[in-house]
Amino acid sequence: MSLLTVRALVRSLGQRRLLAIDELCLSAGESCVLTGANGSGKSTLLRILAGIDAPDAGTGCFDGRPFGWSPYPDWLRKQVTYVHQQPYVFHSSVIDNVAYGLRARGVPRAERARRVEEALSWARLHHLLDSPPARLSGGEKQRLALARAWVLRPRLLLLDEPTASLDADSRRQTIELLRTFADAGTTAIIACHDRDVIELPAMRRLDLVDGRIITD
């Protein structure tokens, strides 16, 4: 059963085609790694799928339900989560950052606390609970952003170079997590240059060249 299908997705900038995808189909539980040179359109594609940017043309279908981008529907926002290439952290607290999406979904306090706690220990953020989030290092912000997305258990998870600014330990741990995502049946698209991610078993590979998918 296909979870996500997009067709005839086009995004241009003046004369330049940033993205031109005839069809992209993702099965439920499938994990893809999205590769391609700098500027090939990886972030552009993920941002469109997440509803942060809109394409110039294109149609989509999620879990059998058609959708478009004007506007990108709220029900879909609750199922799809995107993590920036350079994540932004809210200037509140580490815990509030992790709890943000759960609050937006109206998850009751007790359950919220439990899930936040779980995400914090997964991302090894406990020793940073009292730090102002804006002062965290690049890799710590990355881990916080991953925890903030992971805690939501989205149907579709879009990760933009999640291992780029991580140290060896955090990288290994994140890759381990990507494996658990796949095992748990989370559908994910991961833009990545990281060999170890690309070579994860059961990873489908999408290669972008100038905004077009060439290997599939």
């Binding site: 941002r47 926002r77 799809v80 993590v83 920036h84 932004y88 943000y100 999406g101 937006a104």
Partner: protein, 230 residues
């Protein structure tokens, strides 16, 4: 009475808790606080809409707001006077020479400051703040609230700036308030009118209080602006 004697008398008035003097301070602060209570949510909401919603005439409104930033308060007072006077459109309401009229005037003077400052605060926010809130599934009101929280220090600076402008303005307060003792006589109007009648001590005492208020509010402004830049 020499200046020295007047200053001593002023200090005496301040420390002895002079009824009339502190009453005037009370009118000033209460009118300005109530004006801020009305103007702040309106100004921030308008600034947010101008910063985030595209609609025809938006650019014009932004330019207009910036133009009104330095509007002479006495002209605002004049216009309000004409509207509220017995022959005016709102003459029926009999608001002229009341605190309500002063509050309306101060709201009008504060609004452009609040709108312009919050507009630039929100425009200056990192675009990823909105994108992250969106990506985590926040609804439009929650996104708005999140963004306002992210720029809270810049917004507090806006509030201080507006407060500073209206607490010390005299033109409008005089026009629509009328300097009525115990009712609409506030610090600036009392200083301007009572001093010329020979009440130097009270003028100096009020001047000291007003100066301290302005100093406090400007320090707060500087603090919040510093925090906002971090």
């Amino acid at each position: 009475m020499t200046l020295w004697d007047a200053t001593l008398a002023a200090l005496l008035l301040l420390v002895s808790g002079d009824r009339e003097l502190w009453g005037i301070v009370g009118v000033s602060l209460s009118v300005t606080l109530r004006a801020m209570l009305v103007a702040t949510p309106l100004g921030i909401a308008a600034g947010y809409l101008l910063a985030t919603v595209a609609f025809p005439g938006r650019r014009l409104l932004i330019v207009l707001t910036q133009g009104l930033l330095a509007s002479p308060t006495v002209v605002v007072g004049l216009i309000l006077y004409l509207l509220l006077s017995r022959q005016g459109v709102f003459g029926e309401l009999q608001l002229l020479f009341t605190q309500t009229a002063m509050i309306i005037g101060q709201v009008l003077i504060a609004l452009p400051v609040l709108i312009a400052f919050s507009l630039s605060a929100i425009q200056g926010a990192d675009p990823r703040a909105r994108e992250t809130a969106q990506a985590l599934g926040a609804s439009a009101p929650r996104i708005a609230w999140t963004l306002l929280l992210e720029v809270r220090f810049a917004l507090m600076a806006a509030v201080c700036s507006a407060f500073g402008r209206i607490v010390s303005e005299i033109g409008c307060a005089l026009m629509v308030g009328g300097n009525i003792a115990g009712v609409t006589r506030n610090m600036p109007t009392a200083i301007a009118l009572e001093t010329s009648k020979g009440d130097f001590a009270q003028g100096i005492a009020l001047g000291i209080v007003l100066l301290l208020v302005a100093l406090g509010i400007n320090s707060a402004f500087a603090f919040f602006q510093g925090e906002a830049r971090r």
